[in-house]
Subunit: 340 residues, 2 copies
């Protein structure tokens, strides 16, 4: 399978300047959808097929709520935020996931995400100083996997919950296809070993638009969407951590907007006030470019103040060197900020 | 200043596959030049203006030799390799740079590259365990800067050797423009605070072609080029370090070829047997893509065995996850391997 559209019609999203020279350039595709799932604005080719990677964790968490598992286990808003998180494995994350597993009478060994060195400096250095190895709770996806284990237990299903034919993943696929409004043509194995279903950039933006407008509708799926987007926006520190774009952007938007990064240059946003959803994919997979582009679109749509700390950090990120000298900056492409 | 050519005519260089989907794609420009500085093959737009970043360290080291400084201070082949290095700050690097500074009656504080956390795991963990901070010797460019200090001392010039009007940088600029055959239109401040002069991809490949054919000519510059390329190829572990593409590729080519990475997706190669030079720039600045593309061109030109360990590691790098499961792979674009 080949996707010529991955670059053929990609649009400039993010520029890297050093001195007076455009040193590097990131192309991509970005789509804004309304609550009806219609494309409001697009850059590049909205029909490009992508893996949403971790940006779709709130879709993967839908069955946890619609199944009744979250209610049965009395999951808190913090736990729902962790189910949607790609966290730093700071103490606030690790402690809560361990408690969650305790609640299920399970342990780190029941996770299937694999061990990962923590991103959080304090926890990382503590591990290094004690010559210790990370465990699966340190994996940035351990909250999502605690959610998978909760659903598996609720369904009375087996322990290998990342297998594509496991009831948990079948439920995730159904929720994913329902939210994106597309049949997923394929899936890839994600960094945490769960299947990651492919969709178009439009499909991902459509799902975000539906999340953004879910409060206007009733039904289990819509209630679940409101609960998940609200949990993310209410606990920005649990969704990522200190120094991370998701956390900084959500903090600066005061609990009104949920955003989520995904590996290989994906970013999504859910804007309930505007009833709009955003999805974008940087063709080359660069996180720095996705962070800049989503900040630009949040400013464009009036959700993020362009003078807020996170806008300054991600919209026009200064490039400094080992001596702290300003060498250049990252900038969104003009088309992302220009009024339609 | 704007460079529409940065992507307008960029060619696919490196593909990222996951499952059956092309997940990400890297575009770029690549040029092969012969010893006469003529373009033999090109992909994308050879006239694109770029910063070579650390890929041009062997050009920045030329004045160290042509000035007579290297001979006066009795610099060894190891020191010349370090002058061209972006090293891991492993013990083999740090110890040699410290000795070099001792030789000059200088210390870490005389460097102007800034302090950088070491990339080498052993040295990094030792620093963390002792709650210590890195010093300027740990900066990946400290060998280049030891060379700058040697030249400054030889010239009797002042301590601020990274200023663009300092005799050391003026000599670097002259050597750079002479080697690339171009007047450099601008410079940026590099990560280590030294000026980094801009050139076209062709200019950079031309310089590498001249290095590759320098043994056919006589003169100070050509002797210096042979000494530097030979030092790099003879000490691959000093030019980068364990786990790095430069080191692995040069080891597998048995001392016959010198290669060098540069930040923001630049890679160069000097092939004396073929009397060819290569320069490439990945438009989005991704190192992974530059590593794959240079490996592909080295295989294409008969310098690297496609079954060697480094070819397997960089030409078709497997993408594995936290459980060690094979999720996909990196591949060079077909055009890079196809016969002309």
């Amino acid at each position: 399978m080949s996707q010529p559209s991955l670059t053929a019609t990609a649009a400039p999203l993010t520029e890297i300047w050093r001195g007076t020279l455009l040193e590097s350039l990131h192309l991509g595709h970005a789509v804004v959808c309304n609550g009806a799932g219609e494309v409001v604005q697009g850059w590049g080719d909205p029909a490009t097929l992508i893996y949403p990677r971790s940006s779709c964790k709130m879709l993967q968490a839908l069955p946890l709520l619609t199944s009744g598992a979250a209610a049965r286990y009395g999951l808190t808003s913090e736990q729902l935020a962790l189910a949607c998180a790609s966290h730093n494995a700071a103490r606030i994350h690790v402690d809560r996931v361990r408690d969650w597993l305790d609640q299920l009478d399970l342990g780190a060994g029941d996770l299937r995400c694999g061990a990962q060195m923590p991103r959080d400096t304090e926890v990382l250095h503590a591990l290094i100083k004690s010559d210790d190895s990370p465990c699966q709770i340190h994996n940035n996806c351990s909250g999502k996997h605690a959610g998978f284990l909760t659903l598996a237990q609720h369904l009375g299903a087996g322990p290998d919950y990342v297998e594509s034919d496991h009831p948990v993943q079948q439920a995730c696929r159904a929720a994913f296809e329902d939210s994106t409004g597309e049949d997923s043509p394929t899936y890839g194995i994600d960094g945490c070993s769960a299947p990651n279903f492919a969709c178009t950039v439009t499909g991902l933006a459509r799902a975000m638009g539906r999340f953004a407008s879910a409060h206007r509708r009733s039904g289990r799926e819509d209630e679940a969407a409101v609960a998940l987007r609200s949990a993310m926006a209410a606990h920005p520190e649990l969704v990522a951590g200190e120094g991370r774009a998701c956390t900084a952007l959500m903090r600066d938007m005061g609990g009104k907007v949920a955003v989520k990064t995904g590996a290989e240059g994906v970013f999504v946003a859910i804007l309930p006030e505007q009833e709009l959803g955003i999805a974008l994919k940087v063709v080359d997979g660069a996180t720095r470019a996705a962070e800049c582009a989503i900040a630009a679109l949040l400013v464009r749509l009036g959700a993020l103040d362009k003078n807020s700390p996170s806008a300054k950090a991600y919209l026009n990120a200064p490039i400094t060197n080992w001596n702290g000298i300003h060498c250049g900056e990252m900038r969104p492409a003009a088309e992302l900020l220009a009024r339609a």
